[in-house]
């Protein structure tokens, strides 16, 4: 056995410029905490919302600058470099995912900052510590107290989401996973209305999330035991240099997959998704559904392509099973749902299945001809398409209301088409995009992942995926039928007029859904330009 080697200490080299998007987001989050401590209560909302949005815009600008520099220095192979002593890979896919997450986060911040729908107050609990239905809660509501902590919390979560897919070693990835998850657990429990189910969602998400990250961590420990390093490149070397399967590697790989598949809400680790999506404040649900999925898929792809690519014959059968199961469960159980948010949650599970189908296609960029797209690029495009539609759809859910706040039961949406043709029309458009009807982004995205999976040899899975798309189309169309061809029950739904914030989010979501359906080429080019993961 070796003695622990003592090496001379070298000052780590960190290029702050390339990591500036991350640093800006974490910096703004910390400033947000200070604002919470020192700014007077009545000014906090304005300061926090403007600060968060500007911070995200600045981070997005930084991503564009870094990406421009990286493509200027491109030597023809993979874009970008590995920074921070091997901890963070600032490569093409990372930059693409950073840009995507930041754009979705800006849209989510608009929903977070919406105040007109609740009558001049945000949709978050006035005082999370005050018990529901007590004098303290009534007083907090009367005095118009609101939790502006949601903005710094969301910023920390976004910081974690940027770090998660870019992490080039498993330890960084675990820390990023926790940095993105912990604020989300809290955000889920902060709804102003229906606080019991919101708190319950937070509890369920927390316990299951902590459980799954423990599995992820044990997976890291076992893979470390196998490879002797956390770095993905060295794990790849160790995996590729030995023939035959090792129990340590197989178990570690499976446990890593549990943690990552939990985050992307793939079956059989999807059980939390409907409960949490339904119970969380709708703005938070939109944020989680779009941004977490993008970040988690980025991390999943990086671990399995870069670190464990050499063992793909071992993990592929498992992933086939997971993909088929996820699509089936998401599409079939969604049919029986009567709650819009819950139905969208199952739809999100089904989409995770379609994304994993694309991920299995696994034809790498180096081995394909010019105009074809690799499976990584197909998945990236699908994530962009799916995120815009999801945020738009959940934003529409926030404006359909009755006296008790948002009304999410499907029966209450009956006759919405007569009451508010525009809102119902936009929602129907989002649903058609989820179903993958041509001329929407959903169709282009599905086409991209299915063709890439098909040419990767996963044709049985593509057949399952197409079948499940048909099943899924059934329940999307059912909602459209309820909205347009049913008579309203009782008073029927009312559509509150939101402020410009939510309107902008819905408009951008709808416009991008249409645009990516009609002219997807620019985003495909961007994804192709992003290239493959750096090793």
């Amino acid at each position: 056995m070796n003695a622990l080697a003592v090496e001379p200490f070298n000052v780590p080299h960190i290029s702050y410029g390339k990591l500036s998007p991350l640093l800006i987001v974490f910096g703004v989050a910390l400033v947000g905490v200070l604002v919470e401590a020192y700014a007077p209560r009545e000014r906090r909302y304005l300061i926090q919302s403007v600060l968060a949005t500007l911070g995200l815009v600045a981070a997005l600008a930084a991503v564009v600058v870094v990406a421009a520099q990286a493509s200027a220095n491109n030597d023809g192979s993979s874009l970008g470099t590995i920074e921070a002593e091997g901890a963070i890979a600032v490569d093409g896919p990372s930059l693409f995912i950073w840009g995507t997450v930041l754009i979705f986060s800006i849209m989510s911040m608009l929903l977070f900052a919406e105040r007109r729908l609740e009558g001049g107050i945000t949709a978050f609990a006035g005082q999370a510590a005050a018990l529901p239905g007590t004098e303290a809660e009534r007083e907090a509501a009367l005095r118009g107290i609101e939790h502006t902590e949601v903005f710094p919390l969301a910023m920390f979560a976004i910081g974690g989401m940027l770090l998660f897919p870019a992490a080039n070693d498993l330890l960084t990835m675990f820390v990023a996973l926790e940095v993105l998850s912990l604020p989300l657990y809290l955000l889920c429990g902060l709804a102003r209305r229906r606080r019991l189910i919101s708190q319950e969602a937070a509890l369920k998400y927390f316990l299951l999330g902590a459980f799954s990250s423990a599995f992820f961590l044990y997976g890291i420990a076992l893979v470390y035991g196998y490879a002797g390093s956390f770095e993905l490149a060295e794990i790849d070397t160790a995996v590729s240099s030995t023939t035959g399967a090792s129990g340590l590697l197989l178990t570690g790989m499976a446990l890593l997959a549990v943690g990552l598949l939990f985050k992307v809400s793939a079956a059989p680790f999807h059980a939390w998704t409907p409960d949490v999506y339904q119970g969380a404040p709708t703005a938070v649900t939109a944020f989680m559904a779009a941004c977490t999925k993008v970040a988690a898929f980025g991390a999943l792809l990086r671990v399995f392509y870069v670190g464990l690519g050499g063992a793909r014959w071992d993990w592929e059968p498992l992933m086939w099973l997971v993909a088929a199961l996820t699509m089936a469960i998401g599409s079939i159980i969604a049919i029986t749902q009567t709650d819009i948010k819950r139905m969208l949650a199952y739809s999100s599970i089904a989409h995770a299945g379609f994304l994993i189908t694309g991920f299995i296609g696994a034809q790498q960029g180096l081995s394909i001809a010019g105009e074809e797209i690799s499976s990584l690029q197909a998945v990236l495009f699908y994530l962009v398409a799916y995120g815009f539609t999801t945020i738009g759809a959940f934003a529409v859910v926030t404006v359909v209301r009755d006296a008790g706040g948002e009304t999410t039961h499907l029966s209450r949406w009956a006759g919405l088409g007569k009451e508010a043709p525009l809102v119902a029309g936009v929602f129907a458009f989002f649903l058609l995009a989820f179903a993958g009807i041509p001329l929407t982004s959903g169709f282009t995205g599905k086409w991209a992942v299915f063709t890439s999976a098909w040419s990767g040899g996963a044709w049985p899975l593509v057949v399952v995926a197409v079948l499940m798309s048909v099943v899924a189309a059934f329940f999307y169309v059912r909602v459209i039928v309820v909205m347009f061809f049913s008579d309203p029950v009782g008073d029927g739904p009312t559509v509150a007029v939101p402020s410009a914030l939510t309107t902008v989010a819905i408009t951008v979501g709808a416009a991008m859904t249409l645009l990516l359906g009609v002219v997807p080429q620019p985003v495909f080019d961007l994804a192709r330009h992003a290239g493959e993961f750096i090793r």
Binding site: A129, L131, P132, Y185
Partner: protein
């Protein structure tokens, strides 16, 4: 000295934690079981660090301790809130969201 006993102990601790999460009802106890799983991971990290003769695993253990501490803060806050609302910390009682 062989590292195997430590790995077996770590696996046993992890298993005890995982089973505990699945069978216990009290949210605090469930949470303690998750912490046990994290500490089992720490033991595995340190054992493998010894086996490979590098420091990575030991560093990881420190990171995990910090993360576990942060998780306790968030977790206890959520469990406290739900306990004050419902006067119960049983995970079976929190069942408004289903199907």
């Amino acid at each position: 000295m062989s590292v195997t006993p430590f790995l077996v102990l770590s696996a046993v601790l992890f298993g005890v934690g995982a089973v505990g999460v699945l069978v216990r009802r009290n949210a605090i106890v469930v949470f303690m079981c998750v912490e046990l799983m994290l500490n089992a991971c720490n033991l595995a990290f340190i054992t493998f660090a010894r086996q490979h003769g590098n420091l990575d695993g030991q560093i990881a253990a420190f990171f995990v301790m910090v993360v576990a501490a942060a998780e306790v803060v968030v977790g206890l806050a959520i469990i406290m809130t739900i306990f004050r609302t419902r006067r119960s910390a049983s995970v079976d009682d929190a069942s408004l969201l289903k199907y």
